[in-house]
């Protein structure tokens, strides 16, 4: 049976879920939160989602998508352009190629994998931002950001896994 127009549209819309989820997390990152800690350093939520989807559905989150989402992040947060694009692109490429390693392994393996990947990702971001701004940014904020990112990963991964199971089972 040939799928109708609506069915095709449905498949396309479901295919956009990963990219859309990263965008939503990007906006959540921008929300003004009245916690003193979060105003100096925030968890890199988009990074978590990029890692999650690259490992689980690399076909739905391509390098180009990661690049564009990074560009969006740079534009909105006022970072030097291109830095997040590069970081998210590298994370996407690196995790997608190692994705098979995480399949059928307990979640803790994926958590450790992310905690490992996030180190170079945040370091590259810190280094390139510092280089482009022309002064060393305080590394302490990056460290806090890393700890938050690594500890909050299970929460985001759980939400993304729910989305994957309910929306992407047949896509």
């Amino acid at each position: 049976m040939k799928p109708g127009v609506w069915q095709k549209l449905d498949v396309v819309a479901r295919g956009l879920v990963p990219a859309f989820s990263v965008f939503i997390l990007l906006l959540i990152n921008l929300l003004p939160v009245s916690l003193p800690l979060l105003s100096t350093a925030s968890p890199a939520l988009p990074l978590m989602a990029i890692f999650y989807w690259s490992v689980n559905r690399p076909d739905l989150l391509t390098g180009l998508t990661a690049f564009m989402l990074g560009l969006m992040q740079d534009l909105l947060t006022g970072l030097p352009l291109g830095v997040s694009s590069l970081v998210l692109l590298l994370v996407q490429a690196g995790s997608a190629s190692q994705g098979r390693f995480f399949h059928n392994k307990p979640f803790i393996v994926m958590w450790w994998g992310f905690a490992f990947v996030a180190i170079p990702a945040l370091l590259i971001q810190w280094f390139l931002s510092s280089a482009l701004i022309g002064a060393f940014l305080p590394i302490r904020a990056t460290l806090i950001s890393y700890v938050l990112t690594a500890t909050l990963f299970p929460l985001v991964a759980w939400a993304l896994a729910r989305a994957q199971n309910s929306l992407l089972r047949h896509v």
Binding site: P32, L35, T40, S42, L71, L75, L81, P138
Partner: protein, 333 residues
């Protein structure tokens, strides 16, 4: 994806991986290209940033409301615990403030009379736009906020942004309905300031920590912890006399200032349209650059007079900024 077998796959599969690899390299190169572009063409990037802020501002405007009300709830809960203590403190403060009010009233009258006597021309009046914080680009790399007003409301690049307590930052990019505010703690922020008591001039330079540095202080300047820092109004960017912060620490090679606002509690801000030229327009900067070859002019960063001409304000405002001692180019970072 459909799997093809046979000779077709043998030809196309390597081709596809080659294409993928090429696309990957292309994207990496374009990321570096973007970094260069961001350094080179700041006007274009600014427009794109403003447009992207406009794009997400309707969403952020709605989503930030529930976030704000949750914040309010937690704040109320903590307030209830400190009710007694707070009440005592407020009573004490109120008593002090009443005394100050009396002093201020006397001074207002005295000031008005003296101004009449001296034919003093007042600085241009302030026009304030009140706006709401809809996003906080909190992070290790940038200290900025997004507010819900733009060129539609008369907000434009370079204007001072204040909270109830004091200076918060300036407008970095103004879109149509949203703008980005660069906080004074950001590493790109420089604000001309004076020390309230000693009237020493300096720059407040952010370094992405929550205690910005006081730079370009003269050697004989006297600064002590607790001194208040105000905007000086030099360069015409900010109105003079806005409180900026309090000196928090003085050491051999750095003086740090504690800003008066608490970033995580910023909710409503005021944007001050000072009615002056504001900071230099980008065209004016480009036009003034070729003049600096070999000879260093007095007062760098001053736009040639004729480029101001169509919009120049009448009166003493513009010449006074030209006469102010701006740091010479060797000093500028």
């Amino acid at each position: 994806m459909a799997q093809h077998g046979g000779p077709q796959q043998r030809i196309f599969s390597p081709l596809r991986t080659a294409l993928h690899r090429f696309a990957f390299i292309l994207l990496i190169v374009s990321a570096f290209g973007l970094m260069l572009l961001g350094k080179a063409d700041t006007i274009l990037i600014e427009r794109i940033r403003a447009a992207s802020a406009d794009l997400v501002s309707p969403i952020m405007n709605v989503v930030s409301r529930p976030a704000a009300s949750i914040n309010e709830l937690t704040e109320q809960a903590t307030n209830i615990f400190n009710l007694y203590e707070q009440n005592e403190r407020l009573r004490r403060e109120n008593r002090e403030l009443l005394a100050w009010q009396q002093v201020a009233r006397n001074l207002v009258h005295e000031n008005a009379r003296l101004r009449d006597l001296a034919d003093y021309t007042s600085p241009p009046p302030l026009r304030l736009v009140t706006t709401r914080v809809i996003a906080d680009m909190g992070g290790a790399y940038a200290h900025s906020l997004m507010v819900s007003s733009g060129s539609r409301d008369g907000v434009s690049k370079g204007q001072a942004v204040m909270s109830d307590e004091g200076l918060v930052g300036r407008i970095a990019e103004a879109g149509y309905q949203a703008s980005r505010v660069l906080l004074i703690t950001d590493i790109n922020s420089r604000v001309p300031v004076i020390v309230e008591n000693s009237r020493d001039r300096a720059f407040l330079s952010g370094d992405n920590t929550d205690r910005p540095l006081l730079t370009f202080l003269t050697a004989d300047a006297t600064v002590a912890p607790g001194d208040r820092i105000l905007t000086s109004g030099h360069g015409g960017a900010f109105p003079p006399g806005i409180p900026v912060g309090v000196v928090s620490s003085v050491s051999e090679n750095s003086v740090r200032v504690a800003p008066l606002f608490r970033r995580h509690q910023l909710e409503y801000l005021r944007v001050a349209d000072y009615g002056l030229q504001g900071i230099l327009t980008d065209q004016a900067i480009h036009r003034s650059q070729p003049q600096i070859d070999g000879v260093i002019p007095n007062g760098v960063g001053i736009v040639p007079r004729d480029s101001f001409a169509p919009t120049q304000q009448s009166g003493p405002a513009a010449p006074s900024s030209a006469a102010s001692p701006t740091p010479s180019p060797e000093q500028l970072p």
